[in-house]
C-alpha cells in the first residue's frame, strides 16, 4: 500500500481511501531482512526467488520488498502503528508471539474475516500441522502463515570440554550437572563457561533462550494450566537462584554480556573465541550465526561444536514430567488488516508458502519449515535436533499480555544478574509489575 497517490491529496485530511486502479496493483512486503545484512537469506529468497516468480505468474501485480534494517522491537513499533491506521506494507514478516496482542488491538484481522473462502480452501493447510498453525493463531482464528519453527538446546564446545576432562558424549541430566561442568571448565581456564541469556538488552532472547529454558525444567510455565500468570513460585525462585549462581556467586558466566547493550553479540563472540563452552540458543545459532562465512563462524565447526539437550532441574522434574526441555517459537507472514488489495495479498502470501517456494527457501537457508511436504534438507544437525527436540518442545502462552509480561521477566533476570536484587526481592517486584499489567484476577501464586 504505497500511498504515492496520496501525496497529491496532501491537506485533504481524511483522504485515506485510495482508489486502486483496476489494471495494476502494487503490493509491499516488509521483513526485518537486508540483503547482505540481517536475515539476508530471507531477503534474498524473496527478492530473487519469490517476487520474480510471482510477478511472472501475475503480470498485473507489482511487488516491492522493503528491507527493514532495524531491530525486531522497532519493526513491531512500526507495524503496531501502521496496522492501526491503514498505513504500512500489505504483507509483513511477523513473530508469532505477538499475534494475540495485535489481534486484541484490532491490528490484525483473521484470515477468515479478511479473505474468507480462498483462505479456507488453501491447499497448504493439509500440510501444516495444527501445532504449527497455532503459532500464527489466536483464540481459534488463524492470522497468518508460519514460515517454520525452531528448537532450543545447549550448544557446546567439544574442544573445551575435553580440556576440562569432560567426556565427549557428555549429556547433562540436571542443572547441577551443567553447573559442575561449568566449574570444571572454569578451573580449566575457560573464562565464562556458561551462557544463559538474561537482562533487558537481549529482549525476547532472554525470555526464550534463558528464562523459559530454565523454568520449564522446574515443571512450571509462565502461566498455569488455566492461563493465569504465575507471579510467585518455587520454580521462579529456583531459576533466579540458578542465574545468581552462574553470574553473581560463582562467576561461571559473562555478567557483562547480560548487561551491556550489545551483550548478545558478545556472547556469540565469547563462544566463537572459546571463552564460553556452553551456550543456550535456538537452532538459528547453528544454521546462521556460526555458519561458515559469517561473523561468528566457529573455526573447524564440525569437530569443535556440538549440542546437548537442556536438562530439567532434576531428572523428571520438568514440565509434563520430562527429563529434558525445549521451547519453540516461530515466525511467519501476516496480511495488513487494512490492505487495499486483500485478495492479491493473499495470492502472494499463499504463493510464498507454496511447496515450490518453500522448497526453494531451503536452498537459501535450511530450516524446519512449517509445511510437512517440504522436507528438512539433508542436514544432520537439523534432522537430529528436530527429531530429538520437537517431541519435547513447548510453546509460549497465546496471550495478548505475554509480550508485556515477557519484558518484566527480562527485568527480573537483569535485577538478579546485576546483583542488585536478591531472587526474593526480584520476584516481589515481578509480582507487582505483572499484577499491574494483567490484573490480580489473572495471576496466581504457587507459594
Amino acid at each position: 500500500m504505497k500511498n504515492r497517490m496520496c501525496a497529491f491529496a496532501l491537506g485533504l485530511i481524511g483522504a485515506s481511501a485510495v482508489a486502486v486502479p483496476a489494471f495494476a496493483v502494487d503490493l509491499d512486503i516488509t521483513c526485518r531482512c537486508v540483503i547482505g545484512g540481517v536475515n539476508s537469506a530471507t531477503a534474498e529468497w524473496l527478492e530473487e526467488q519469490v517476487i520474480p516468480a510471482f510477478e511472472a505468474a501475475n503480470p498485473d501485480i507489482n511487488v516491492t520488498l522493503n528491507q527493514f534494517g532495524g531491530e525486531d522491537a522497532q519493526l513491531t513499533q512500526q507495524l503496531a502503528l501502521d496496522f492501526s491506521t491503514g498505513a504500512g506494507p500489505d504483507i509483513s514478516a511477523f513473530d508469532g508471539f505477538l499475534i494475540p496482542a495485535f489481534a486484541e488491538g484490532g491490528q490484525l484481522k483473521s484470515l477468515d474475516d479478511l479473505i474468507g473462502e480462498d483462505y479456507a480452501n488453501w491447499e497448504g493447510w493439509d500440510h501444516i500441522s495444527p501445532g504449527i498453525r497455532s503459532i500464527m493463531s489466536y483464540d481459534g482464528e488463524t492470522y497468518g502463515i508460519g514460515l517454520g519453527t525452531d528448537v532450543r538446546m545447549i550448544f557446546v564446545r567439544k574442544d573445551l570440554l575435553e580440556q576440562a576432562g569432560i567426556p565427549a558424549d557428555w549429556q547433562p541430566t540436571s542443572w547441577d550437572d551443567v553447573l559442575d561442568a561449568a566449574r570444571k571448565l572454569k578451573e580449566a581456564g575457560v573464562e565464562a563457561p556458561l551462557q544463559l541469556n538474561a537482562g533487558v538488552a537481549m529482549g525476547e532472547a532472554t525470555t526464550m533462550q534463558g528464562y523459559w529454558m530454565a523454568l520449564l525444567g522446574t515443571g512450571e510455565g509462565v502461566t498455569d494450566e488455566n492461563g493465569k500468570f504465575i507471579v510467585e513460585s518455587q520454580g521462579i525462585l529456583d531459576v533466579l537462584n540458578l542465574y545468581k549462581t552462574i553470574y553473581v556467586d560463582e562467576g561461571l558466566g559473562d555478567q557483562r554480556a547480560q548487561l551491556l547493550a550489545d551483550g548478545r553479540n558478545r556472547s556469540f563472540a565469547n563462544f566463537r573465541d572459546g571463552k564460553t563452552a556452553m551456550l543456550v540458543e535456538g537452532d538459528w545459532f547453528y544454521r546462521s550465526v556460526t555458519a561458515p562465512g559469517s561473523e561468528f563462524e566457529v573455526a573447524d565447526r564440525g569437530n569443535v561444536m556440538s549440542w546437548v539437550k537442556m536438562p530439567a532441574e532434576e531428572p523428571g522434574s520438568a514440565i509434563r514430567g520430562q527429563d529434558f526441555v525445549s521451547i519453540s517459537g516461530g515466525t511467519g507472514f501476516v496480511i495488513n488488516p487494512n490492505t487495499d488489495a486483500p485478495m492479491e495479498a493473499w495470492k502472494l502470501l499463499s504463493f510464498m508458502m507454496s511447496k515450490e517456494q518453500m522448497t526453494a527457501f531451503q536452498d537459501y537457508q535450511p530450516g524446519i519449515r512449517s509445511r510437512s511436504d517440504v522436507p528438512i534438507p539433508n542436514n544432520p544437525f537439523l534432522t537430529e535436533t528436530s527429531q530429538t527436540l520437537l517431541p519435547l518442545t513447548t510453546a509460549r502462552p497465546n496471550d495478548p499480555n505475554y509480550n508485556a509480561v515477557s519484558q518484566e521477566i527480562q527485568r527480573m533476570t537483569e535485577a538478579v544478574v546485576s546483583g542488585e536484587l536478591s531472587p526474593e526481592e526480584a520476584m516481589a517486584q515481578y509480582k507487582a509489575a505483572v499484577t499491574a499489567i494483567v490484573g490480580e484476577e489473572n495471576t496466581v501464586s504457587l507459594l
Partner: protein, 314 residues
C-alpha cells in the same frame, strides 16, 4: 490652510502605526502558525488527553482505552515503588543529578573556560579547538554513538589504550561507571553551545574595559572574575536555563547505554521512551510526558521572570 475641522466623522478606533500591520503580521505568522499548530500544539493536547487513559499500542486497550483519571499519575508517584530502580522516581533523581553534573557543572563551566581561553590564545589554536568542540555538537547523533562506543570499548578502545599507555589501569566504563560516562558524554556533546554563547558575550565587552584592568595590573583571573563575569551575567542566566532544559530532555545517551545497565542511565526521556514504545503503555508514557512538560514549564517561567526583571519595557 483650511479652518474647517478636517475630520468630523465619529472617532473610529485608530490603529497605531507598526512596521508591519496586524493583517500583514498575521499573514507572516500563518505558515509557522499552521505548522506549529498541527505538529506541536495538537500533539501537545493529545498527549495530555491520553495521559488520563490506559491506552496501549497493542492489545485490548489499543482499541478501546478506558478513562482512568489520575490513575497513571498515581501509579508513577506510588510511594511503594517510586524510588526503585527502573521506576519514575529513580529516573527523575538520576536526571536531576545528570542535569546538575553535565549541564550546570560540565557544559556551562567548560563552555565558560573555553570561551575565556580562546579570547587570548593564538588564532590557529582558537580555530582548531573551536572546530573540534563544535564538531562534537553538530555531528549526527548516530555517528557520535558509534564513535563513543569505539572510544570506550573495554578491550581496544581509544580511552583504554591511552590509559594503558600512560601506565594507568584500564576501565570497563560502560558497565562500571555508566552514569559518569553519560555525564562526560553530554558535557562533550553540548559544551559548544555554551562556548559560543559566552564567546559572543565576551566579544561584546569593549576591549577598553580589559585594557583598563591591564593598566591597573590585574591578572587574567582577576580580569575574568571582576570584569568578564559580571558583564555577561545575563548570558549566563540564558545559557544555564537553555542547557538545563535541553539536558533535561536529551535522549542521545540512549545510543550509548540503552538506559542500562539495569536502568543506571535511564533518564526521564529514556524512561518515557521505554514506557511508551517498548512497554507500549501510551497512557502511562503520556503521563510521564505531561510531567516533563510541567517541569519544562517551570524552567520556562523562571526564564520569563528573569528575562522580565532584566529588561523592564517602557
Amino acid at each position: 490652510m483650511t479652518t474647517e475641522p478636517i475630520s468630523t466623522q465619529p472617532q473610529r478606533k485608530v490603529r497605531n502605526f507598526a512596521l508591519l500591520s496586524n493583517r500583514a503580521g498575521a499573514a507572516f505568522m500563518l505558515p509557522a502558525g499552521l505548522l506549529v499548530s498541527v505538529f506541536v500544539i495538537v500533539p501537545f493536547f493529545w498527549v495530555i488527553f491520553v495521559s488520563f487513559t490506559n491506552r496501549t499500542l497493542i492489545g485490548k486497550t489499543a482499541l478501546n482505552p478506558d478513562f482512568v483519571g489520575l490513575g497513571n499519575y498515581l501509579a508513577l508517584f506510588d510511594p511503594a515503588t517510586f524510588f526503585q530502580r527502573g521506576q519514575f522516581g529513580f529516573s527523575l533523581i538520576l536526571t536531576t543529578q545528570f542535569v546538575l553534573m553535565s549541564a550546570l557543572v560540565g557544559q556551562a563551566l567548560l563552555g565558560l573556560l573555553l570561551a575565556w581561553l580562546i579570547q587570548t590564545v593564538p588564532p590557529w589554536i582558537k580555530r582548531i579547538t573551536e572546530t573540534f568542540v563544535i564538531a562534537a555538537w553538530i555531528l549526527p547523533e548516530v555517528v557520535i554513538g558509534f564513535a563513543w562506543f569505539a572510544f570506550l570499548d573495554r578491550d581496544a578502545g581509544t580511552l583504554n589504550m591511552l590509559l594503558t599507555g600512560l601506565g594507568l589501569p584500564p576501565g570497563d566504563f560502560l558497565l562500571q561507571q555508566p552514569f559518569w560516562v553519560i555525564v562526560v558524554f553530554n558535557t562533550w556533546r553540548g559544551a559548544a553551545f555554551s562556548m559560543m554563547l559566552f564567546n559572543s558575550a565576551f566579544s561584546s565587552i569593549p576591549p577598553s574595559y580589559f585594557q583598563a584592568a591591564d593598566v591597573a595590573g590585574a591578572s587574567s583571573w582577576q580580569k575574568f572574575r571582576d570584569i568578564g563575569l559580571p558583564l555577561i551575567r545575563g548570558h549566563i542566566v540564558t545559557d544555564l536555563i537553555l542547557i538545563t532544559m535541553w539536558t533535561f530532555n536529551t535522549f542521545t545517551p540512549f545510543l550509548l547505554t540503552n538506559g542500562g545497565p539495569s536502568y543506571r542511565t535511564e533518564l526521564v526521556s529514556i524512561y518515557n521512551y521505554r514506557v511508551a514504545f517498548q512497554d507500549f503503555q501510551f497512557g502511562k508514557g503520556a503521563a510521564v510526558g505531561v510531567i516533563m512538560m510541567l517541569i519544562n514549564l517551570a524552567f520556562a517561567l523562571i526564564y520569563l521572570r528573569l528575562g522580565r526583571k532584566k529588561a523592564p519595557k517602557s
